[in-house]
Amino acid sequence: MNPYYIKEKKVSNTIIEIKGLTKNFDDQQVLRGIDLNIHENEFLTLLGPSGCGKTTILRIIAGFEEPSQGEVLFSGEDLTKIPSYKREVNTVFQKYSLFPFLNVYDNVAFGLNLKKVDKEIIHEKVTKMLGLVGLQGFEKRDVTLLSGGQQQRVAIARALVNEPKVLLLDEPLGALDAKLRKEMQTELKKIQQEVGITFIFVTHDQEEALSMSDTVVVLNDGVIQQIGTPIDIYNEPENRFVANFIGESNIIEGTMLDDCLVKFDDVEFVCVDKGFKKNEEIEVVLRPEDIKIVDLKDGQLRGKVVSEVFKGVHYEYIVQTDKRDYKVHTTEFYNLGIEVGMRLDPDDIHVMYTMEY
């Protein structure tokens, strides 16, 4: 496998270091050796389908689960020896888990009350935090009567008011409707930048991951598939799983003839990928929006438009060639049944190693 590397976005210190982490539930292994560095001020997203182990990682960091093997270091200290209530992390739960017998103010003040902070300071901090999440004037409201979005904000305020070094968010937007989710995405990003701490965000929604994160960690079946910036992940998926999971793609088996020369569907293409063995069997990822439809004579590939779906901003076509169907996104309109050509520029072609399983 490729050595995973993290693109150093800002030079910042590692706050959480995970080494060789595994977790077994009974006879089922949900984490199979996770290595991951999480940095200060980073917005890191654990992305993967349900059951991939992303929530388990979060719960191990929070202290609700113990690792079966491996280390979790927090500022260099072994985190697994510290009980959850002493860790400098706070969690926003999937269904918020607000305390229904307390009002908004007391929910937010819960952590500070436990620390026996002076009441006036509590009042000041809670008020400020409710302002940050846009809930001024909601202090005495019954939390069970708030809308989903409002409960979400209370949950965030309740966690952040304790000034944790790391905030863990377990699919916090899952219960919201599409429009509210978009709003909260922007807001979360804004809050993260304002408080300036590390957010570890768990989601199965790739769009959410791409639009908010500094770093995305793609997980599948308890194994990290790829770590990178949203752009890296999208443009240079390292394997078929990532390519498939992040956005839509055409994945085609091919042969690497030489550096920057790849052959698939019996056509040779110039590309930008180097360092493969000669004639190595590889897979090629073509994003639907990178394929350009041109006149028949200019096309490197030729096919017939067999399906057309309007998607709002663009159309999605299926172009049928001798070898396979290509998915193409474009804003131009083409009639069904016409023959078209397709072109690929060198940097539209992304070559990856064949998946090992």
Partner: protein, 626 residues
Amino acid sequence: MNKKNGIGAKLYITLCFMFFYLPILVTMFFSFNSSKSLTHFTGFSFRWYEKLIHDNSIMSAVYVSISIAIISTIISTVLGTITAIGLSRSRKLLKEWILNVNNFPIMNPDIVTAIGLMIFFSSLKIEKGYIPMLLSHIAFCTPYVITSVYPKVRRMDHNLANAAMDLGATPFQALTKVVIPMLKPGIFAGMLLAFTMSLDDFVVSYFVTGNGVENISIVVYNMSKRINPTINALSTILIVVVTVILVCVNVIPAIMRKNHKSTGMAYQTKAGTFGRRVVLASGIVLVLFIAGFSFNMSGAGKKVLKVYNAGEYIDKTLLDDFEKKYNCKVIYETFDSNESMYTKLQSGEKYDVLVPSDYMIERLIKEKYLQPIDWSLITNRDNVIEHLWTNEYDPKGKYTVPYFWGGVGIVYDRNVVDEKDLEEGWDILLNEKYKGNVYMYDSERDSFMIALKSLGYSMNTKSKKEYKEAYEWLIRQRDTMDPVYVGDDVMDNMISGNKAMAVVYSGDGAYVINENENLDFFLPDQGTNEWCDCMVITKDCKETTLANQFINFMLEEDVSEINEEYVGYDSAVKSTYEKFRDDYYLGNNACAPKLDNPLNETFRYQETELKQYCASLWTKVKSHQK
């Protein structure tokens, strides 16, 4: 249509409420009665409340009931809640298994649980009394708490505890500040259930207690011979207290919630009060526990005498006097019948002095359960009516000292019953002139005694043929006369003049005649049951001197006078007997009945086979009621 429904519903609700609350109201009403009757209101007074406060045995029973209810409620609530929380996180199989097991004690008949616990404590050689009773109550209350808390735990979001710990709560704080407030309704319901189950438990307590520790229900049960309005007074107080508590628990949280929601800052103080409440609760448990223990142990170091007597068969102030006089401690327990006393002895319970009846004494002597009286200590022997010393149950006069005695006769309403008909003797009970106007005493041996005497047989006959004839006599009476078979409620019914005649014990007859001057009493010429209850000492008794001193004490003239005044039967002490005959009960034929009829007999011990035969016939008499 709608309107009609409304009336129907209202009527239904009214009937329900009447059914539920009328008995309670009647009970409360009669607690203020100036006389002893439970059915006849003669005037307003606080007499029974005064009596209640001065009745040590009732007050200590109240203490036992309430302290056990409080401690067992607190402990079982804690246990049950922890179990419910733990269960919700266990594996499915274990969870289902435990929940099913948990239902056993709830569904089991109380009596099975009771006997199980009794055997359990005896086999561990744990002395019966306060502690076993408390442990048993905790044992049978806990399942109710689990059953009412568990559904709440299951419905709770499990991340709530995690959320609390995430915010810095230790596991214990998460429990007290989040989990328990979440489960509060369930815990509270469980607590109330446990408290009521414990407070009104009779069966289990009855089997596991001993050493004179009795709760309210045991005291009342043993009183059944003569329930007096003290119990009404006690019930009234309990009802008032429970009502006040219920109102408080329903109203106070509502007020608190209101305040809480309106301040928004109340949380801190609330969290504080929880801690204080826990401390308070544990304080209560500790204090009650120690008090209960010392209650159990009070008089430690002194010589102890265990007396087992029928309910309401002694003036208990005499026990205090005896304790003072001989610097000892009397543990006094009561039974409701000779048979239940015998069962208790069989279960291995040990007593020093018993007060059984004639035929039971014969059996105890036969089974070598008694030890001889030390006559050198019975200096008051000559106070006893001479002829009571000659009897068949203790022919050698070694084991018994007479206590109370009397006969069985008929109490009748002079305005209804014709004097001439009295000559028929027991056959008056077959005189159809009085059809539907007769109370029979619901007692197997006394009923057969009547039939056998009427037929001219001995009441101790061993002939099944004669029993069969007696059975037919009783069937005939039942079918032609429509008698009502009653227990001790016969007294109240006769005082109220509900029927023309009733079969009664002479002591009870004397009492009802005293309350209703239209009544009189007669002993049929065919002979009757001449009974005698005696004090005996068991072979288990170690404090023989003290036991003999106790018996001697009860024979003292002034002591027996106080005792007769309370009990109302004819004393075995001659001076007392004569005094009541010539003074208080002057002209009352039920007092000092003339038991000079040679046909009178005393019950003898019945062999098992005959007893079973007799019992089966009696069941038929009662079950084939038209």
